[in-house]
Symmetry: C2
Subunit: 246 residues, 2 copies
């Protein structure tokens, strides 16, 4: 599993298409991931068309990967297909609620990660776009997603045209808890984040952003409270619009 150990996010891709058989084969294997009651509560929209990518780009804050990658995959939580099957089989579906969205989103994200692992093992590079849940309504309109379908992750895929440094990770001891959650003392927090804070690139970030600490880049610039609250309200509206909050 060297491809997992050595993985890095790829944002620059070669001008080289991904054959449909390769992509479909990877997706088919990815769907072997665990799924709630074997319901497979997801759909994947495959975007190769340049015009469609250009439409999607603003929903992802115009990150260049959306238009430069040969393939953009939008993974959607999907209770539409299953509910339609139920109705055709004299069964009344009851999946227009929050827990069903969470179940479908969980199924979807397991399949997403499985796909990424398989793609990277085959020499492809991927970038996970967390922006998908920030502007779901735009994506819903562009991809014509019906009720009970909500986009939860977008993956850009292509042959790597860069090999960036591997990003840091927190020490394992800062993430696992034996038997029960041991809440973090101030000293533990210092120790867990020390390496991250000491990295030259992070010190550089602090300098060019004119903040006092690295944490302030997250709270004041990248992931602000006001933005989070705005997007939370948007997501609630989307869940209602798509029928997951009846």
């Amino acid at each position: 599993m060297d491809s997992i150990r050595n993985r890095r996010t790829i944002r620059k891709y070669k001008q080289q298409d991904i054959p449909a058989e390769l992509l479909n084969g990877l997706l088919e294997e990815a769907f072997r991931a665990s799924t709630m009651g074997n319901m497979q509560l997801y759909s994947v929209v495959v975007t190769r068309d340049a015009e469609r990518k250009a439409l999607l780009a603003p929903a992802h804050f115009n990150q260049p990967m959306v238009t430069s990658a040969p393939v953009v995959l939008t993974f959607c939580a999907d209770f539409n297909r299953f509910s339609k099957w139920c109705r055709q089989r004299k069964a009344e579906p009851g999946y227009d609620n929050l827990i069903s969205f969470i179940n479908a989103a969980s199924d979807t994200l397991l399949a997403v990660q499985n796909f990424c692992t398989l793609a990277e093992d085959r020499g492809l590079g991927i970038c996970y776009l967390g922006t998908t849940v920030y502007n779901p309504d735009q994506i819903i309109d562009i991809l014509h997603l019906p009720e009970l379908v909500v986009p939860v992750a977008t993956i850009t895929v292509g042959y790597p045209d860069e090999c960036p440094a591997q990003p840091d990770r927190l020490p394992l001891s800062g993430i696992i808890h034996e038997e029960e959650y041991h809440d973090y003392t101030p000293e533990a927090i210092d120790a867990i984040y020390a390496m991250k804070e000491s990295l030259p690139e992070n010190k550089h970030f602090v300098e060019i952003n004119h903040t006092e600490t690295l944490a302030q880049i997250f709270t004041n610039i990248r992931y602000k409270k006001s933005d989070n609250e705005f997007m939370s309200e948007g997501l609630k509206r989307t869940l209602k619009r798509q029928g997951f909050d009846k």
Copy 2:
């Protein structure tokens, strides 16, 4: 990636411990998965103690894997650690909202699937317990999860003591959509679910459950509307209690 292609859920385990180094090594590699802004918004509680497993079992409807597996892993969406770091660094965190829960849950589920892939590749067997989000409050109490920490997935792990048949999957064409979502016609639904409906084990399920169709087993017995609505209300209360709906 044969381990992905050939995977099956394992519910029976040998009486054989998983060495801590092996488990920790797998978790460390799993945390190489994509993570929102490299925040690593998750924690993992490792349960080996038999008494603690017995406490957790009812939260998972007493599925026997919880007490019979050598290791039970509870993967939690965690904005507590990050928020504590922010506060210690003169940064005011703004992560007490729905989008932050979704971001943290997404991070968590990618790490979960990465862990499962790695564990299976090393000959371990896993079972994904979707029940985690059904009774989060019980789990929160048992594992002492603080504010901004919510369990989203539980994985039981051990050396396989069974080799069940591989479950069916829907045909790929029923899941992927080229360029935009093509909603399902009644004929498409029939075709997509035909194989599943024709399986002897599913016909047997219908017979012993005295339902008319396979879909009715899902809507009337396994995933009922009334249960989903009850659990949705519970999950909303949990998100409020844990500070993700301020």
